[in-house]
């Protein structure tokens, strides 16, 4: 007799007893039904004493992996104002307003030793639209923008999710922006029309990629499918 298997292919270890006498067969069937119920109850009984899998969420939390992408945070002291995060953000939720310091004003040094060249007048992130791609973290030169382990930052309104990380109040922002604009206007008045032509000039020193360059020869597989 072939080995009996269940629909899922598991071998049936418990062999059903059979008899040719229908009354004995009936008794065997009834006994097997009763016995298998007891087996099932034994399984349930063992589960009663197992440690529950569930976690009482607000009181206890599971450990979240270190690389998990959660709430974006900005360490504004490190930020150099390069606008890389603003440019890469697919959702366009980062708004940065920078202003050059006026002549003679020194903004000091950032904690990472670099000179602070710009006022970060405003650094606003609309968290309600963040899609947690982590690109801003990747492109940041100064490690100023990164994910922090905080995934539960519910607020009462959408406006509260728009967070300004800058140390400048709106009045200070307007002041430094106006001062920078005034100084720029003054400079342009002293040197008229020179920067305009410079910007519109073509840039001859930028190398354009060509098939003959070393980079392409290294990366492209040859006709044999091998790398040269």
């Amino acid at each position: 007799m072939a080995e009996m298997r269940t629909a899922l292919g598991m071998p049936i270890t418990h062999q059903t007893k059979t008899s040719k006498n229908p009354i004995i067969q009936w008794i065997l069937d009834v006994w097997e039904g009763f016995y298998t119920v007891l087996v099932g109850m034994g399984v349930t009984w063992r589960h009663f004493f197992r440690k529950p899998f569930t976690v009482q969420y607000p009181h206890e939390k599971l450990n979240i992996p270190k690389q998990a992408r959660q709430r974006v945070h900005v360490d504004i002291d490190l930020c150099g104002g390069c606008l890389q995060c603003d440019k890469i953000c697919p959702a366009g939720i980062i708004k940065i307003v920078t202003a050059k310091p006026v002549a003679g004003e020194d903004l000091g040094v950032r904690p990472n030793g670099k000179r602070r060249a710009l006022h970060i007048a405003e650094f606003t992130i609309d968290h309600s639209k963040c899609l947690y791609c982590g690109l801003c973290e990747t492109v940041c030169n100064d490690d100023a923008i990164y994910m922090i382990p905080d995934f539960q930052y519910t607020t009462r309104s959408l406006e509260q999710l728009v967070v300004n990380y800058s140390r400048y109040s709106p009045e200070e922002r307007d002041r430094v922006v106006a001062a920078a604009a005034a100084e720029k206007a003054a400079k342009q008045a002293s040197k008229p029309a020179v920067p305009q032509t410079k910007v519109s000039d073509p840039q001859p020193n930028i190398p354009s990629p060509s098939v003959d360059s070393d980079v392409f020869n290294e990366k492209c597989p040859g006709p044999d499918g091998e790398f040269k």
């Binding site: 009834v30 039904g33 009763f34 119920v37 099932g40 109850m41 399984v43 349930t44 009984w45 589960h47 009663f48 197992r50 440690k51 529950p52 899998f53 569930t54 009482q56």
Partner: protein
């Protein structure tokens, strides 16, 4: 065994005592339903490696069912527009009264009983049959296909399983020679072996026939109370909620209460008839009063009902009828004939 007799102790006319006892029973059933729902949630949770309610009331969420009951009482009482209003309103009371009326003849102590009818067990079987009428009434009056299907299934199932239940309960009646619940309890005090021990209970009296009768009664009572594995009348996945689909608020609470009261009642009947009811398992445990033994035995059986519910899947309608008519009924009949023959031989 405590021989406390409330009639003598307070010197009350029997009518007053019965009114007080009815109040106690209603309060007890309500509290028991709250407790049983909580217990069921916890048992289902631990059977599935969960925790169940943990928040409401602090420790282990003990106040969860109280909060749920309060919420249920504050819900709007909706009667469907096309429902038969009179029957729709009447049905929950019939179901609840049928369940609660049975409690009148269940002894919680040797003298602690609503009324000691000389047809006690017959009264129980007769009254629990009226529940079927209430359920059919609810299903018909709701004017809803799910409710009607649930009610029809429930009626078919309850009427079928009355027979193995009746035949199983006849065994202790044959052995006692009386239908009175008090007589059945007292008859389990003494037997062939030493008096006052658990082996005089009817479940151990004529092995294995009374044991089989007990198991048959217990399984058939699961069908009688519409519980898993025989919960096809309210199979959530097929019939929304069965006969009480259209009910809300206080009327739904009545059905719910009756359901959990029924669980206790079938457990109480099983413990009185087969497990000695308020009798202690050994003479040196007689200092613990009878009602505590009675509650303990009943609660253990209620626990087994819940344990079974979270172990077994639901059977199909044809399997349900197969189990009743082709397995339970022949077994119960053989049991009945054997015990009846033995009783006749003993009396000669």
């Amino acid at each position: 065994m405590s021989q406390f007799n409330p009639l003598e102790a307070f010197n009350l006319p029997i009518v007053y005592w019965q009114i007080i006892w009815a109040g106690i029973i209603v309060a007890f059933v309500t509290v028991f339903a709250l407790f049983a729902v909580y217990l069921e949630r916890k048992i289902s949770a631990y059977a599935q490696d969960r925790m169940g309610p943990m928040e409401t009331g602090g420790w282990q969420g003990w106040a969860q069912t109280i909060a749920d009951a309060l919420k249920l009482l504050l819900k709007e009482d909706i009667i469907p527009e096309l429902a038969d209003r009179r029957l729709f309103k009447l049905a929950p009371y019939i179901v609840f009264a049928g369940s609660l009326g049975v409690m009148a003849v269940i002894p919680f102590g040797v003298n602690l009983i609503g009324t000691d009818l000389n047809i006690g067990l017959y009264f129980i079987l007769a009254l629990s049959s009226t529940v079927v009428i209430g359920i059919l009434m609810a299903g018909w009056a709701s004017n809803n296909k799910w409710a009607l299907y649930g009610a029809m299934r429930s009626a078919a199932q309850m009427v079928s399983y009355e027979i193995p239940i009746g035949l199983s309960l006849m065994l202790p009646v044959l052995l006692t020679g009386s239908l009175s619940m008090i007589d059945i309890t007292n008859a389990q005090k003494s037997g062939i072996l030493a008096d006052g021990y658990f082996w005089n209970w009817y479940i151990f009296r004529v092995p294995p026939f009374t044991l089989i009768a007990f198991i048959l009664y217990f399984w058939a009572s699961l069908a009688e109370t519409n519980r898993t594995p025989f919960d096809i009348p309210e199979a959530e996945s097929e019939l929304v909620s069965g006969y009480h689909t259209e009910y809300t608020g206080i009327r739904f609470a009545m059905f719910f209460l009756a359901e959990y009261a029924n669980m206790f009642i079938v457990a109480a009947i099983a413990s009185v008839v087969f497990l000695g009811g308020p009798l202690a398992p050994a003479p040196w445990l007689n200092w613990i009063p009878g009602p505590i033994w009675m509650l303990l035995k009943s609660l253990v059986l209620v626990f087994i009902q819940m344990w079974l519910r979270w172990t077994l899947p639901r059977v199909r309608v044809d399997q349900l009828m197969h189990i009743c008519w082709k397995i339970f009924l022949p077994l119960a009949l053989v049991n009945f004939i054997v015990i009846a023959t033995l009783v006749v031989l003993w009396q000669k």
